[in-house]
């Protein structure tokens, strides 16, 4: 299938890209890795008149690491998968490694995935659990929005039509923190039916000082499960604690149904994913090397 006719522009700089977006407003779409935009255009579900190809803007493709982390919006899933992350950032590897297939990971970008705001996207929960925020630029200026506040509904964000995500900022993590992202899916490479990212700060006695719990692929937007987080703080992460946390997550959830999974299945799988993610985070805390993957 072929997209509707459109104009193609390749800006020379980030500034130029922002000018073009300001100029064309809602008629324009930025093109990053094209893994979501192009299929939508081919099905004529997206019909931009102007495509602004930001894909070669080197300034957006860098990772800066000085304690806190700045990931350029064009950094690909594959680049994140390939990097050697310290233990407290293992979530980034977990997330990247379960996105689609090799081809998609080679081209798809973190900024594009966040802007696309697919309810089954993997970066939403992972970055929420790391307290990340996105830097947003436009001809009007710059702003920073926590990933937890980026998504307004399925496929909707707070981004204006003239705005670009320029980078994702991940704050420095506690040196002893560990986390895990578990994606339950029908099969390898498929979209999730329930995904959970946890990031645990450990107290000296091995209990959980605090935990971030983010849930994806179950509701229209990924969300932080604050009741479960409050419950886990200060506890020993045993089976009973995980079970109660899972119950609290389920209570806060209105899952959707699609061909991959019914609402009732998703509700149950959120509990399984949470329990497994907490288990893996604990084992990682104990120094084990464990793949989180598809749980």
């Amino acid at each position: 299938m072929y997209p509707q006719p459109f104009e193609y522009v390749r800006p020379e700089s980030v500034g130029h890209a922002l000018e073009l977006l300001a100029q064309h407003g809602a008629d324009a779409r930025p093109l990053a890795g094209g893994q979501s935009l192009l299929p939508l255009m081919k099905q004529r579900l997206a019909t931009p008149r102007v495509v602004v190809d930001i894909g070669r803007l080197e300034d957006l493709a860098r990772v800066e690491d000085d304690g806190s982390l700045r990931i350029g919006s064009l950094v690909t899933h594959a680049a994140i998968e390939a990097r050697d992350w310290p233990a407290p950032l293992a979530l980034l590897y977990d997330g990247a490694s379960v996105i689609g297939d090799v081809q998609v990971r080679n081209l798809g970008t973190m900024g594009g995935a966040l802007a696309h705001a697919d309810p089954v996207g993997d970066w939403g929960p992972v970055l929420q659990a790391l307290d990340a925020s996105v830097r947003i630029g436009s001809a009007r200026g710059e702003r920073e929005v926590p990933v937890a506040e980026l998504f307004t509904d399925a496929f909707s964000t707070v981004l204006g039509p003239d705005e670009l995500i320029t980078a994702i900022d991940v704050p420095a993590q506690d040196a002893a923190a560990t986390g895990a992202y578990v994606k339950l899916a029908r099969r390898v490479g498929d979209a999730g039916v329930a995904t959970v990212a946890v990031q645990v700060r450990w107290a000296g006695d091995g209990t959980c000082a605090s935990a971030a719990v983010a849930v994806g692929a179950a509701a229209s937007v990924p969300f932080r499960a604050s009741e479960a987080e409050a419950f886990l703080a200060g506890r020993t992460l045993d089976e009973a604690a995980a079970g109660e946390a899972a119950r609290l997550v389920q209570a806060a959830l209105t899952p959707f149904s699609d061909v991959r999974g019914s609402a009732e299945y998703r509700r149950d799988m959120v509990a399984v994913a949470l329990t497994r993610a907490l288990g893996i985070a604990s084992r990682r805390h104990a120094g084990e090397r464990v793949e989180a993957g598809y749980g």
Binding site: R187, D190, S262, E264, G295
Partner: protein, 814 residues
């Protein structure tokens, strides 16, 4: 019997002839064909599952710059004739004309309703939305139960019921079997809609030229059965001068026999309207919506059993969900005559069934056509019997299989199983799998809360084709619609001594060129590299090849039979010619390697292929009187052992097919009982394909078809909403397994040559797709045995298994 052979080339792993071409991107597929002035077509499809077409207006689209031809459904019906009803709908009472486009009504989402051709594909897509089709939507029926409920909307008013067909057949004394039964085992079973999703969807280029009579039409398409296209174009367009060319095909699996004809007709009609060549290439979503599905089949099964596990008889009631067309309504039922008794020596069976139309994609032949479901019925029932009698699943099968000494074995329905050693297959599989050790491991794993399961299934892969089979079900039909069938091969020995082969079928990637070259090499004693097999099929150049419909399975019988026959004829002719050249009687000559013919008595007296070929073509005065010059021949193969029961006798016994390879599949799975996910840890196929010509080719067929059957069992499935919308419009949504979830498949050959074929070969194609769904079902049930789970329905995607574990009903989409 004596085994054929020893062989010089047959059975040896020779390098593939076609693989390098494909791997290097040098194949020629329909979409690679570019003709001067060629236009590009798109098809407009129904967005509704069930609606009346009120009007269609293509005038605005026709004015779109670049558009050169538009056809809408009402015009199409005016301009063309309906297809003639074919054998996939044998025995339907009421005939409803079917055209390439919907006529008056649409009955499934994606049914073609209009088409146009423009200067390029993008323009064509732009213009398509300008064709205005107005519908009056009707309520959709999406399940057989809904379709036959009182007051359900009718798909075909002319038929008067959505249950369009009902039939029953029985062999042996079924009532007596149930009277004598010590135990009756009952259950309901079902298999779902799936497809083989060939990598290359449908494609066609049509080029019409006006001229004498009805004009001349050439089509290039990726249909697997050229004669279906030939017939369709003549029937619907009334053109007599039709040429069908088929280049490389990216997979067929039966999908490309039937529905593809609609699109070839539409593309040809566009070409006729504008007088230019037109190309059409289907996209993936179109193929998933409207390219044809395997039939959803539901069963009620009862088995009459003795306490020692002996099965006395089986009663099967079947309901087929055939979708929104009558043209293939009965094939999933009739085809069950082919493996009606599977591998078992059981005396009585009754099969009763209905075909129900629904507002879903029409069903088509697909990798086994009903045979995977018949095998599923038998194999699930064998497991059930084992469970109810407390027997081992292997033991129940050993008790009931046709014993090794009983071949050739005639089943009560008249199939003659040529050769086999089912007990040997079962024992070999159990040994190689380590069945007893696995059972111990399973017990240990259970104590750790891990759920391992061992699956067993066995099946036959009937090969050969007998069109008169359906008469067994239709005793009122008079006359023979065709028994058996024939396929040809043309061989020419070139003056260089190399050989050119033309086959009556195209190839869909099953290695036909490799296999055919090897057989020629065997007969003519030349290296296979000296044999060139045409990779393009062309009705103006190729011999007839209707018998095999290009299935890998039938190819090994018909085309190989034809190639063997033609090569043997040429070999005899070479001997006769050599006898004349050397002045010796032919029986004093020996045919040696590299085409040397030598006197047995005086080895110095010899001649060879090159010398004989030059003579045969250029020195015809030296060709003996009465002998045709040249070294070219066409051999038409007929299955030589089609009697008895080539046509049904008074007990309705008929040979549905002619050779019967068999295999035993064993699977080791682990079920994650929290998520319902099934991982296949090991998968083994021990098979009997008779004499294997090319081990790599046969192994490829086994692995490919097993991988598909496993994916079918583990969750690939078409899903419809209650409004008849297809919910699985991409391969990702559809849930096809990828290489990452497909286990490595171990294959062991335990070939028993067929006494009925020239090389002892049997069919080798779709075989492993037949028992594999049952093998996975068996393994999952075994894994979940401690939880009391019974597996009756496919597919077994994670949510389905989770539902079984939690005692929840099957999911229904809304």
């Amino acid at each position: 019997m004596t085994s054929p052979g020893p062989f010089a080339y047959v059975g040896k792993p020779t390098p593939s002839r076609e693989a390098p071409r494909f791997v290097r991107g040098r194949g020629t597929f329909v979409d690679d064909i570019k003709l001067p002035g060629m236009l590009h077509a798109v098809i407009g499809r129904s967005p509704h599952a069930h609606a009346r077409i009120l009007s269609a207006d293509g005038s605005r689209a026709a004015r779109h710059p670049g558009v050169e031809a538009v056809v809408t459904s009402p015009e199409h019906v005016e301009l063309t004739s309906p297809f003639r009803p074919g054998r996939y709908a044998s025995g339907l009472g009421t005939h409803v004309p079917e055209y390439a486009m919907a006529a008056g009504k649409v009955r499934y989402v994606g049914e073609p309703v209009c088409a146009l051709a423009a200067s390029d594909r993008a323009t064509a897509e732009d213009a398509l939305s300008e064709i205005e089709v107005l519908y009056e939507t009707l309520e959709a029926v999406t399940s057989p139960a809904q379709a036959v409920a009182p007051g359900a909307p009718l798909l075909f008013d002319e038929v008067g019921s959505n249950e369009v067909w009902r039939n029953a057949i029985s062999y042996g004394d079924v009532e007596a079997a149930f009277r004598e039964a010590e135990v009756v085992v009952r259950h309901t079973l079902s298999m779902h809609r799936y497809s083989s999703t060939p990598l290359e969807p449908f494609a066609c280029v049509a080029s019409y030229e006006k001229g004498g009579g009805t004009g001349a039409l050439t089509v290039w398409c990726n249909a697997q059965a050229p004669e279906v296209i030939h017939d369709a174009l003549r029937e619907t367009l009334g053109i007599d001068d039709v040429r069908v060319v088929i280049t490389d095909i990216g997979g067929s699996f039966g999908q490309k026999i039937h529905l593809i004809r609609k699109y070839v007709v539409i593309t040809a009609l566009l070409s006729m309207r504008c007088g230019k060549p037109v190309k059409w290439a289907e996209d993936r979503t179109e193929h998933l919506m409207a390219g044809g599905h395997a039939c959803g089949q539901e069963f009620e099964v009862e088995a009459a059993v003795k306490r020692d596990g002996t099965v006395l008889g089986l009663r099967v009631r079947e309901v087929d969900d055939v979708g929104g067309s009558l043209s293939t309504a009965t094939i999933h039922f009739t085809n069950k005559l082919n493996n009606l008794f599977n591998t078992y020596r059981v005396g009585a069976i009754s099969l009763e069934g209905t075909a129900v139309v629904t507002n879903k994609c029409p069903v088509v032949p697909n990798r086994g056509i009903g045979k995977p479901a018949m095998c599923f019925v038998w194999e699930r029932t064998m497991d059930r019997i084992a469970a109810e009698l407390g027997m081992d699943r292997l033991e129940v099968r050993l008790k009931n299989v046709v014993p090794t000494g009983a071949f050739p074995y005639t089943t009560p329905s008249g199939n003659i199983y040529d050769s086999g050693d089912y007990e040997g297959l079962l024992h070999t599989a159990a040994e190689r799998m380590g069945y007893d050790e696995l059972k111990a491991e399973q017990a240990r794993a259970r104590t750790d809360g891990r759920y391992l399961g061992i699956g067993i299934a066995m099946g036959i892969e009937p090969g050969g084709r007998n069109l008169s089979r359906d008469l067994a079900l239709l005793p009122d039909v008079k006359g023979i619609p065709g028994s058996g069938g024939t396929s040809g091969a043309t061989l020419r020995i070139e003056r260089s001594g190399s050989v050119t082969v033309t086959l009556g079928v195209p190839s869909s990637g099953q290695g036909h060129e490799t296999t055919a070259a090897q057989v020629v090499a065997e007969v003519l004693r030349i290296p296979p590299e000296r044999v060139r097999v045409a990779s393009t099929f062309d009705t103006t150049a190729s011999p007839w090849g209707g018998a095999s419909t290009n299935s890998g399975n039938n190819f090994h019988l018909y085309e190989i039979g034809a190639v063997h026959g033609a090569a043997t004829q040429l070999r005899d002719k070479l001997l006769a010619l050599a006898a004349s050249v050397l002045g010796l009687p032919a029986d004093e000559l020996s045919f040696e390697s590299d085409g040397v013919v030598r006197s047995k008595a005086d080895p110095a007296r010899k001649t060879g292929l090159v010398e004989l070929a030059r003579l045969a073509y250029n020195n015809t005065v030296l060709v003996p009187d009465g002998m045709e010059p040249g070294l070219q021949t066409t051999f038409m193969y007929r299955f030589p052992h089609a009697q008895p029961f080539a046509v049904p006798d008074e007990q309705r016994r008929v040979r549905a097919q002619f050779t019967f390879p068999a295999s035993v599949h064993m699977a080791l799975v682990e079920v994650d009982v929290s998520t319902g996910r099934v991982d296949v840890l090991r998968y083994l196929v021990v098979g009997d394909n008779g004499t294997i010509i090319n081990p790599g080719v046969v192994e490829g067929q086994v692995i490919g078809s097993a991988a598909h059957g496993i994916s079918v069992a583990l969750g690939e499935a078409f899903a419809y909403g209650s409004d008849g919308q297809l919910l699985t419009r991409t391969l990702r949504d559809y849930g096809k397994s990828t290489t990452l979830t497909t286990p490595s498949i171990e294959v062991e050959h335990r070939g028993m040559p067929s006494p009925f074929t020239p090389l002892g070969q049997k069919a080798a194609g779709e075989g492993a797709a037949i028992p594999s769904p049952a093998a996975i079902a068996s393994a999952v049930e075994d894994a979940l045995e401690p939880l009391g789970v019974r597996v009756r329905d496919l597919p077994l995607g994670p949510e389905s298994v989770w539902r079984l574990i939690n005692g929840l009903p099957e999911r229904v989409f809304d």
